[in-house]
């Protein structure tokens, strides 16, 4: 995400020198001096923006859905496209659901909301990585995870049963900043928007 986001920003005229990016500093100013960048983990992006420490952020939709963050979402940047899916060993797993299912995932909110909206009782097993292992080892019946190419799923004997959502990188904006720094935010949105439209 970070690489494609920086590339997009550079095309929109908000560039940073490679030296600066590679310096491992976590807060940088761009070459025009108009923007200050903060590099944080994906899950922390909505936190910084919701608190207004950062006015804007770039983060995947998967993170936003999981965090249930209260933010403005003016632009879909279309970068880092992937899918949030339900996967199991058998393609017809959903038709064989009886009583309740065990779902292993890093995305417990998304999983709970997805199955909840369909009235399927689930036991959510929260993992922090290598979710694909869970069904093979008998920890869970299914998983909810992010899929880019599907190779990892196949290698672990899993197939996609359902697609929950498509996730792409989004520009998010703090609600107060949107009102208090209207022009600055509009300038950033416009620069990114015209870059996206020009690229198509």
């Amino acid at each position: 995400m970070q690489e494609s986001a920086l590339a997009l920003l550079a095309r929109a005229g908000i560039g940073m020198s490679d030296d600066a990016v590679n310096s491992r500093r976590l807060a940088l100013v761009d070459e025009t001096g108009q923007y200050r960048f903060i590099f944080v983990k994906p899950a922390d992006v909505p936190v910084y923006v919701e608190h207004g420490i950062a006015d804007c952020g770039i983060v995947g939709r998967d993170v936003l859905l999981e965090a249930e963050a209260d933010l403005l979402l003016p632009l879909d940047l279309g970068i880092s496209r992937c899918r949030i899916v339900v996967a199991a060993a058998n393609a017809d797993a959903m038709t064989k659901v009886q009583g309740m299912i065990r779902v292993a995932t890093k995305y417990s909110q998304i999983a709970r909301a997805h199955f909840g909206s369909r009235g399927i009782p689930v036991e959510i097993i929260q993992l922090s990585g290598s979710v694909e292992l869970a069904p093979a080892l008998g920890l869970a019946d299914m998983i909810v995870d992010l899929v880019e190419t599907g190779v990892t799923l196949r290698e672990n004997g899993l197939t996609v049963v359902e697609e929950i959502a498509v996730s792409t990188g989004r520009l998010v904006v703090n609600r107060a900043s949107y009102q208090l720094k209207t022009e600055e935010v509009a300038r950033l949105v416009k620069a990114l928007e015209s870059t996206l439209n020009g690229g198509q």
Partner: protein, 328 residues
Amino acid sequence: MTSRIPAGMRYYIGAEARLRRTVEDVAMSVFEGWNYEEVITPSVDYYDLFEQGMGRAEAQRGFRFTDNDGRLLALRPDVTSSVARMAATLLSERPRPLRFCYAAPVFRQQTQSHAEWRRENTQLGCELIGVGGTAADLEVLRLAAEILARLNLQSRCCITINNVEIFNGVAAHLNLATAAREQLRRLIDTRAAAELRQFLQTLSDNEARAFSQPTQLTGKREVLKTARATITNARSIAALDSLEELWTEIESLGLDNSFEIDLGDVSSLDYYTGLSLKIFVHGAGASVGRGGRYDGLTGSFGRAEPAVGFVLNLDALTEVLGRGGKQD
């Protein structure tokens, strides 16, 4: 265990407590200057009152417990519900308009967003009951602006105003089903421009195009002009007219630097019936106040009459003033 403090609760000590008291005094003296009577409402009341007054989704955030007879009680999650009931029952015979103000803590077991850490917030608020129209709307807006000015936040704040009937008129005109209406509302609320345009393409009508460019929803007078270019239904036009009338008054008072029109503020459509407002201050990551017209509320207590009001969050204001706005 007694060393622990529940989540969302805190102490105010010394200088911070003094600052908090000062802010409260400033607000209350402004209210008093406009002839608002102070009211102290019960801290504990029937849960039903709040469900009726705030809607279920909001009332459910409150702390709940039961009375001796088994009825559900709540630690007040807002003050407005109680004031509206008082106006419709206890004070039904009093000549209108009624003007009330308060400084009172409200409690929410569940906060609305992650950024909202506190579960006890003191609301500085006012309610003007029994008069409708631009004059009443303007009065509460002037009160809000005056309090912010007295706190020296004038140049660092922005009060956004909208009339929810603009959206309601468009939604009614389009005959949207409940789910589609909620989807349109959510897309406007989050300013999701691309999804919004996609959604609007599925509609045959042009009316909703007024909302297709989120950046054009926020600004000064020109926002109204842009909206008028596409909106034709009578309900929305009437709302645009009254918003424009209000804006003209704001301009003539020279207050337009502190105000902005935001037609995209559609966050509490079910509660407000006309004017809605939000108050933002540099240094606070979320709004520090909100309000609007709620003509439907007192009717549910047996006496329907116009009402308008707003609240400021004392704790959020104290935090911003205490930092001296260093965050920017």
